[in-house]
């Protein structure tokens, strides 16, 4: 790169701080926490130092290429060593590195201090979704990609937050220290929110800690940052930071809702849903949870994901079918949905799978049957 190109890059970096960055994102985000701002500053300092070194070195090189050419009739010199020069250009970079290392160390030490948190949240990654549990409250939920499969399949137009939207975002308070305890249910995942500058691996069997203190309310979107299988690119992280009063209100509401949902599920066990209701709920839930692999038309992907249309499992024993959905199939990509979905959705999905695409078994599976499986009866 010429000196000219280097200065273009410098200007580009400057521009990146402006609104221009909104359309064509060129640079890292400054984020919404003190840590993310520090990280951004460190990034820019190192970048500028590299640019300066680049300009000097490439400048010298291109100057030489222009002036020390045979076609200019120069005679080549013969010098080929100088201990003094070698020492100088070893020492100066070394000193520059020390200059870089000091602020880097400071920032890192601040990032690793997870003490005195106000809120603790357990984050569990699995193939291919996140699970959040508020440590001090009876509130936990899964957070799945909400983008419709038809957008991914290029049938529908893509929305603004394509691939960065979930059905249930994590909600945290602004201005409080939030601590995350991160682990995985299967393979290694990584929980990343760029605007917090938080990225931590989710290792199965072990917990990792991270923290943040968000300065501004807003919606912050990130993605899984460790290859975890087929849908690694389809398990986003969405965090909403609310001012403390709103947060507490939201929390109280959600805890109450969760309690109510549990009670309703208990009631559901005694009820029967109509076939039509099961199919309607089932189609929605199937498309949201199952179609990514088994496809909306139930035909799956040959050799990779089995078809449910005309499948022996969907047409065969109901108990076996429920077992597959609830407990998954170990050693394959078929997850266990028993933990992830409510009784109503599970019953509806099994019903839908047994009747859609011409399967037409006529079976209507009720929540009570699913519950029987879950409790081992």
């Amino acid at each position: 790169m010429t000196g000219k190109q280097s200065s273009w890059l410098l200007s580009a970096a400057v521009f990146a701080n402006n609104a221009v960055a909104e359309e064509m994102p060129l640079n890292m985000t400054q984020g919404v926490t003190d840590v993310s701002a520090n990280v951004y500053d460190l990034h820019m300092i190192i970048f500028y130092i590299c640019c300066i070194i680049g300009v000097i070195v490439f400048g010298a090189m291109f100057w030489s290429i222009f002036h020390h050419r045979k076609s200019r009739g120069v005679t080549p010199a013969n010098f080929h060593e100088s201990t003094k020069v070698e020492i100088i250009w070893t020492a100066i970079p070394f000193l520059i590195l020390i200059g870089m290392a000091v602020p880097a160390t400071k920032t890192l030490m601040a990032m690793e201090d997870t003490t005195n948190a106000d809120v603790t949240i357990q984050v569990t990654g699995s193939q291919w979704k996140w699970h959040y549990k508020y440590f001090d409250h009876e509130l936990e939920f899964y957070s799945l990609l909400a983008t419709h499969p038809e957008e991914i399949a290029n049938i529908r137009e893509k929305s603004e937050n394509y691939l960065l939207e979930v059905d249930r975002p994590l909600v945290i308070p602004v201005g409080k220290k939030v601590r995350f305890l991160i682990t995985s249910d299967d393979v290694i995942h990584s929980w990343w929110v760029p605007e917090f500058a938080v990225k931590k691996d989710a290792n199965p069997g072990f917990i990792n800690e991270a923290w943040t203190r968000v300065n501004e309310p807003g919606i912050y979107r990130g993605q899984c940052a460790e290859l975890c299988g087929k849908d690694h690119g389809f398990m986003p992280v969405v965090v909403i930071a609310k001012p403390i009063e709103e947060y507490e209100k939201w929390l109280a509401q959600e805890v109450a809702l969760a309690k109510k949902a549990k009670e309703e599920e208990q009631k559901l066990l005694a009820m029967n849903m109509s076939y039509e209701e099961l199919m309607e709920v089932g189609e929605k839930a199937y498309n949201a949870n199952c179609a990514a692999c088994h496809q909306m038309n139930g035909e799956g992907i040959p050799g990779v994901f089995p078809a449910l249309k005309d499948s022996p499992i969907a047409l065969g024993d109901v108990g076996k079918h429920i077992d597959v959905v609830v407990n998954g199939v170990p050693g394959t990509a078929m997850q266990a949905y028993g933990k992830q979905l409510g009784l109503k959705d599970l019953a509806a999905i099994v019903t839908y799978e047994r009747n859609a695409w011409g399967n037409n078994t006529g079976d209507a599976v009720q929540a009570a049957e699913i519950n029987a499986y879950l409790t081992g009866n």
């Binding site: 080549p76 399949a153 290029n154 069997g205 899984c224 975890c228 087929k230």
Partner: protein, 535 residues
């Protein structure tokens, strides 16, 4: 060449009392049975070129899918297979065999030896490679597909959660490793024991030095890769729990073992490149390499430091602060000897009398673009910022700069530099210049924007992305297609050059110094059967 010393050749001709016939045997079996370092070098280079296109084809699939948001061409699992096998092929099938091919061709001639020390093992080193890659490529056609866990095959994605192609992947990697180890042993024994009398270590050409150091790195770390891959096999099939928490193991342990191999591995892929550039620049600057001794020490320092930086690939795994600081400092330190090398190349050019033949053009491009890759590497070394870069396209940009505009460009530079020596013909300079310029522009269109999308938050190894990354991805993909097509020009140049072209002298390039430039072009089948005298 280490200095402007004159080399006197006693005799070149081999038509005295040898039993074996002169020149090369004929027919296909020549290639199967050959123990000749030139033949084996040629086979390695042609094999590497083929693998470059196969790996490149996979990259084209990747870039075609990433051309637009949405899933158009492949499904996500196959995409993961493409990224995995693309990486494996480029690392183990293209870059490494190319450097071994160049070593085979050039090291014996550069030190005045008649061949490699262990010619029959040399034949095996090559021939097991096509076998290994056939297994790897065929595994893509298994039911359930081929390896899809990234070339870095982290556990437990590669153990409990992988498909059955894993067994073939492991077998294939073992064979590649054995090939590399045998090759490295051969290089070390050749350089230690077969140098012509008078060629002391500090008179060896820098390409020989960098390959000597690379060979030691290979001996040290390829067996560790073999261990890692064996542990993956046993964890998956034989109920061990190296990386399984349930059995008392730790998935992070895999990363430590892998990267203990993996970091020196990337230096294995760049040190020979440094050697090639150190041969070419002095020739076309008509000036001796600046700071020969420093260059040797810098290379050795880089090699030694490469053993203590591995965890900079693991900053997000939950490492304690002390570990993060240690690895940050050591990683930053590697930029010192690397910088020294760059300064020495520039100092070699300084007040020389340069001409800009194609090998020199590739070398200058290397110096600039590899250094850019080095800068992004330095940025990645800063742990707190790495948390934002890790597993994004910023990393992809970094390693493609150092490996494509670094290693691959150096291989092409070396190929253009030495093709006339191998074939006796000058290559088609017009075609070669077109190859250079098209490659230079397209490679930057391909990889430079990756810095931006990475900084903007696009993770790596994803088949589909959020809409704000779409424009840059389209540009990147176009660059990718252009770069891929441009390489066909290279094939054309090589093919034409083998077939014919303007005859060249022994020295080929004005300013070229070294034993390899004292033998005729094309180099006779057997060279230096009697060792030359070195003054």
């Amino acid at each position: 060449m280490s200095s402007a010393e004159k080399i006197v050749i006693e005799t070149q001709l081999d038509d005295h009392h040898d039993d074996h016939h002169h020149g090369a045997p004929k027919g296909l079996m020549r290639w199967v049975l050959t123990t000749n370092h030139k033949d084996i070098g040629t086979m390695y280079l042609l094999f590497s070129l083929l693998m470059f296109f196969i790996g490149g084809g996979m990259a084209m699939v990747i870039r075609a899918e990433l051309f637009q948001p949405g899933m158009q061409i492949v499904d996500p699992d196959f995409f993961n297979q493409m990224t995995t096998v693309h990486g494996l092929i480029m690392v183990f099938g293209a870059v490494m065999p190319a450097f071994v091919g160049l070593a085979n061709w050039m090291v014996p001639m550069m030190i005045g030896a008649p061949d490699m020390a262990l010619p029959r093992m040399n034949n095996w080193s090559f021939w097991i490679l096509p076998f290994a890659f056939l297994i790897l490529l065929l595994s893509l056609f298994m039911e359930g597909g081929g390896p899809n866990f990234g070339w870095t095959f982290y556990a437990p994605l590669s153990t409990t959660y992988s498909n059955d192609s894993t067994a073939f992947f492991v077998f294939s990697v073992h064979i590649m490793g054995i090939s590399s180890i045998m090759g490295a042993i051969n290089v070390i024994v050749t350089i230690f024991n077969l140098r012509a009398p008078g060629m002391t270590f500090m008179k060896m050409p820098l390409f020989v030095w960098t390959w000597l150091i690379t060979a030691f790195l290979l001996i040290a770390v390829m067996p560790v890769l073999a261990g890692a891959v064996t542990m993956v096999l046993t964890d998956k099939y034989f109920a061990t729990s190296f990386f399984d928490a349930a059995g008392g193991g730790d998935p992070v342990l895999f990363q430590h073992i892998f990267w203990f191999f993996g970091h020196p591995e990337v230096y294995i892929m760049i040190l020979p490149a440094f050697g090639i550039i150190s041969q070419i620049v002095p020739t076309f600057a008509r000036k001796p390499l600046f700071g020969y001794a420093s260059m040797v020490y810098a290379t050795a320092s880089i090699a030694l430091l490469s053993f203590i930086v591995w965890a900079h690939h693991m900053f997000t795994t939950g490492m304690p602060l002390a570990g993060e600081l240690f690895f940050m400092y050591c990683t930053m330190l590697i930029s010192v000897p690397t910088g020294v090398k760059v300064f020495n190349w520039v100092a070699t050019m300084w007040r020389g009398a340069m001409t800009f033949e194609v090998p020199m053009m590739f070398s200058i491009a290397f110096i600039v673009l590899f250094t850019i890759g080095g800068f992004s590497g330095l940025m990645l070394a800063i742990t707190p910022v790495d948390f934002q870069y890790h597993d994004t396209y910023f990393v992809v940009a970094h390693f493609h700069y150092v490996l494509v505009t670094g290693a691959v460009f150096s291989i092409m530079a070396g190929a253009y530099y030495w093709l006339p020596k191998w074939t006796g013909h000058m290559f088609d300079i017009g075609l070669a210049k077109a190859h250079f310029w098209l490659s230079l522009v397209s490679v930057n269109v391909l990889f430079f924007p990756m810095h931006f999308v990475g900084l903007a938050g696009m993770p790596r190894r994803i088949p589909d992305y959020a809409v704000q990354f779409a424009d840059f991805n389209a540009i990147i993909s176009i660059g990718g297609f252009a770069f891929g097509l441009s390489q066909l020009l290279f094939v054309a140049v090589v093919y034409k050059c083998i077939k014919g072209g303007e005859k060249v002298s022994d020295q080929v390039w004005e300013g070229a110094e070294g034993l390899e430039w004292e033998v005729p072009s094309p180099a006779p089948y057997h060279t230096f059967e009697t060792p030359p005298k070195i003054k």
